[in-house]
Amino acid sequence: MKYSYIKPRKKTALTKDMQLLFTFFGASIFMLVLTYSFLVFKDYRFDQREQEIVQEKKDLNQDINNMKDKITLIEKQNMLSQRVFTKNTVLKDSISNLFDLVPSRITLSQAKIMENSLTLYGITPNKDIYNFMLQAPLRSIFNRSYSSFYPQKNGWYSFVSTNFIDEESILDENK
């Protein structure tokens, strides 16, 4: 039997092999945890961004709806104003045409312009001048024309001319 004279070393579980193993697995686990943390962080950021996008979309939709409402209103305003401007211009032309229609020998004392009718009061030297120079053009414009004459002391005639446009013909024109 042989005896050793050296002092026995203290035995430890953390041998070189174990250290190597711990280092290897430690590095692996660290990388896995790092990857997992990265993914969890990214998922969190994605969720956050998704919520932001939902809010942004909501805001944008609201903005778009507001803008669409404004566009609709402006279009309505534009249409109405164009209609009003056209109506005023047509009215101006109609009144201008009416006064141009009256010959210089006939004097108007009053003109009532309604939507479907025109009533003229005035004086004329004789019925023929009225009939040929005013009644004829009025008849070509209006569907129905009625005239009444009242003799004046000076030999002239006062007249009342009532002229109507039938509603059907206005509707036909508008079609």
Binding site: L39, V84, N88, Q110
Partner: protein
């Protein structure tokens, strides 16, 4: 074959760590990775939709701005409340006398409120009235000259009366009705 205790420790630890790695990977890492990929794809889609919506909003904004620039006068006119004094100041030059009375609110249509103004005036010739009609289309309000229009000769002047419809944006809930007004200028 004799396996030393040291090797048994080594083997056990290796197996334990391997199992840990596998469980960690399959239970946490891979599902999270899948979720990450799905969310990334979803986010890409959502970003694309957001960009499209943003482009659409920009286009709509451009259209709105263009419309606002083109129709500035009309927009301002619809939002300006009718003031009889101001109207008279602006348009009295066309008349020998101009009187506005009874500003009454008519039934609203769906968007606009309509006020009716009775007007009596005196003009020296119909031309003044034509000029007035031209000026009304360029005035600060949207005004439609309405029937009945009556012209009556009164010596050298023509006495005229007509109604005007003034159109405003409908703010009936916020706004008070305009006060009745009656002013004469000569």
């Amino acid at each position: 074959m004799k396996i030393s205790r040291q090797n048994i420790y080594l083997l056990a630890l290796s197996v334990f760590l391997l199992i840990f790695v596998l469980i960690f990977s399959f239970m946490l890492l891979i599902p999270t990775g899948k979720e990450y990929r799905i969310k990334r794809a979803e986010l890409k889609k959502e970003n694309k939709k957001l960009r499209q919506l943003s482009d659409f909003a920009n286009d709509t904004s451009t259209i709105l701005q263009d419309l606002q620039n083109e129709n500035r006068h009309i927009i301002t006119a619809f939002s300006t409340p009718f003031i009889a004094d101001r109207f008279q100041k602006q348009h009295r030059k066309f008349f020998s006398s101009l009187k506005l009375s009874k500003i009454s609110k008519q039934e609203n249509d769906d968007v606009f409120s309509v006020y009716e103004v009775n007007t009596t005036s005196e003009i020296s010739s119909p031309k003044s009235f034509y000029k007035f009609l031209d000026a009304v289309n360029k005035s600060d309000w949207i005004i439609a000259i309405n029937f009945p229009i009556i012209f009556k000769r009164d010596s050298e002047l023509i006495h005229s009366s007509f109604t005007m419809k003034v159109y405003n944006n409908d703010k009936s809930k916020k706004e008070e009705k305009p006060k009745e007004d009656s002013n004469t200028t000569k």
